[in-house]
Amino acid sequence: MEELDSEPTVTLIPGVNSQKKQMCFDWGPGEMLVCETSFNKKEKSDMVPGCPFIHIIRKNEDVYSQILRKLFNESHGIFVGLQRLEEELTGKSRKTQLVRVSKNYRSVIRACLEEMHQLAIAGKDPAIGRQFSIQVSSLSAMELIWNLCEILFIEVAPAGPLLLHLLDWVQLHVCEVDSLSADVLGSENPSKHERFWNLPGNTQTLTELELKWQHWHEECERHLQDGTFASSPHLESLCKVMLGDEAALLEQKGLLSTWYHFLVTRLLYSHPTVKPTDLHFYAQSSLDLFLGGESSPEPLDNILMAAFEFDIHQVIKECSIALSNWWFVAHLTDLLDHCKLLQSHNLYFGSNMREFLLLEYASGLFAHHSLWQLGVDYFDHCPELGRVSLELHIERIPLSTEQKALKVLRVCEQRQMTEQVRSICKILAMKAVRNNRLGSALSWSIRAKDAAFATLVSDRFLRDYCERGCFSDLDLIDNLGPAMMLSDRLTFLGKYREFHRLYGEKRFVDAASLLLSLMTSQIAPRSFWMTLLTDALPLLEQKQVIFSAEQTYELMRCLEDLTSERPVRGEPDAQQLQDDDVETTKVEMLRLALARNLARSIIKEGSLEGS
């Protein structure tokens, strides 16, 4: 647990002259941003060169973060499984399921604990070993608290089995810390109480047990009074302990490592059939007796006390303050919420506590370069603000490779986040266009169903064609398939290429009608009409008549449309005059060719076949 009575460590920011300049900072989910401001510390403005960088400061968790990642990943699996637990399970079977989930969580914590413990004792560097040990004790405390919460809140053990569970709890945790002392005291207890409780049965009612215990207790007292053990002071104090004599127990304080060990031992010998609601009396007095006014309770003690008092909110609140990450409180609160133990505790922005904690935890995961994929599932199960948080976070994941982008897109598509899909695809398509990967750009715009971008890509292709006189990336254009329908420009591109292909195959009549339809159906951009008409020239000049009279009229109409639109320019300069010349020549040639073709086609259509 974090102690606040040690001096905070000082971290120097390289490049920033902290003597002269002031720094500003901002907290993020797991990191802090720091940069230099232009405010000087002293009044006189020294012209000190400023530091232009923004620094990211992060706690050095490299040491144990590898093992904690296993905790995050495994618990993610358990979390998702818990959410999918069907609502129809009620009563006992649901409770068994929930207890099993709780035990799963705890076993994951224990596994990490074990691994870290191994590393702590095996490591050679004492500083790293210390860090590991701190983390080990932190995890150990977490498991302790979780276990107690499981017994009190999830298992909801009634009087009788309650003490058994508490005994297990203490044994589990005390034994691992100090096995030697526990052996001495612990070994006495099981033999005595196993004989006594008759464990497998549990068919006895509470009253029967109470009677039996009463009987046994009286017998012990009688032995003490009769002085049976007078000869051996050791045995006598043992008898006193078994009678639950507080003073005797306190004498063994050295062997009882913690106040809750004291509490449970005390309960075992004086009030074994303690009811859950009475626990907190004994807990408070045990704590006071054990500490004896020498030391004040630590955060862990306060948390356990709150648990004994069945104040769940207090437990969660104290844990949030004491522990350094949200993992523990988020998962525990979620589990308790599934047990229907938390009333909707309205926080000031409206969502309940479980959701608040899960959102905090998931935001922290998104700040990690790798664990963001886990965060997605947590956001999914926050009904109020989860989706909107996910939308904000998912757009900001840095996309270094296409494969990562595909995974992010899949997440968005599965949740119908069309805006995010569109914006991510647009970013990727722009990058592709800049790198001259027009095929990739097109495939991204197809995925986002982004007609505007498809038009942009097609324009690029057409521009390349005009500049170079041939198409690049024929493999793409020839194989557009149904994607061609995405945008008009794209359809035009496909059809135009088809025209070239038909021409290459010498299927002139088909090519001609295709060319004409491209113009008349308005899918060709106006700027391209000149090129199309120029393409028609060789067809007009062929020996055989290809364009019919009707078609020739159409072509003429298009040409007139085009030329009549020419804006009147002001002061033409030399280059423009030259361009105009070229244009005029082209138009004249076209007019001539069209007129000649018209003549020929009229004659051809007018004459009889074979004459």
Binding site: E114, N435, R437
Partner: protein, 380 residues
Amino acid sequence: MEEIYAKFVSQKISKTRWRPVPPGSLQTTETFATGSWDNEENYVSLWSIGDFGNLDSDGGFEGDHQLLCDIRHHGDVMDLQFFDQERIVAASSTGCVTVFLHHPNNQTLSVTQQWTAARHHTGPGSPSCSSAPCTGIACSNPEIVTVGEDGRINLFRADHKEAIRTIDNADSSTLHAVTFLRTPEILTVNSIGQLKIWDFRQQGNEPSQILSLTGDRVPLHCVDRHPNQQHVVATGGQDGMLSIWDVRQGTMPVSLLKAHEAEMWEVHFHPSNPDHLFTCSEDGSLWHWDASTDVPEKSSLFYQGGRNSTFLSHSISNQANVHQSLISSWLITDPTKDRIEITSLLPNRTLSVNSLDVLGPCLVCGTDAEAIYVTRQLFS
């Protein structure tokens, strides 16, 4: 299919590959390599599967695969292949291709060769040469072929500093995967749903054959060639569709099988039992497709057996005249004789399964949930 072991390894696994056994050896494989991705420091690691019965009493260490050695890798590991017994080739998201050598005596990995500048974008907007991720590798000793997001194909030979052959602008979109068909021929798949066959004996920069999907041009992510019949190829697409192609016949797939709900990342024919096919996907599942026709009691269209078998719709494109002299069960086009049994191998749904590999009775796969699953009893 029993007993699959999982182990959480604190890194997202992008590729897993079994080490090949020496030819003629009767042993099963015991070592596999993994590559990680999306970490600030990525690693290529070698793992060993020990003897069974090593289960720890504590729940944490269920898997019996142990880390042998690892080495830092710059950038995400985009593809990983064993070049031979000791050498591993890795493709990086920085565009770099690295050959690692494993030293068995002291269990370390070291870099023996690296081709760094092989992959870049050129274009009016890109500053000089911005690097492009390398997405796929195919090895056929002594040659290594790589493809990447820049649409370029590079042919390397081990121990040669420069690329032997480069096909620039082989594709206007991203090439996702590559495999050898016959030694001078390779097959690539791209993100506009096309398969292209390239012949290195020819000088030009044009593919010798292009095949593509009908309908939507869904990007294809993975490809694998049938071990015995070099004209049969399986591909997996972005919509989770599995397609089987016969590259001698026509330009369309022979069969299309609707499989996963999300991108299919890898498809593998089993190298010694090619009637078995394995696929893994972004939807977190790993499927075993069993098309063996020697078990009489399998009923025709309904799939049973296995813990989580699923019924699939099966659509076949019109392919006439499949030459029947050497029938592969994958090329059967008659639905009434169809007998593919599908089993899901992972016990519960997880995050994306990025990679799988099969060799003999062993299967390994790696997931985005930072877990590696291994089984040594694939056909029990």
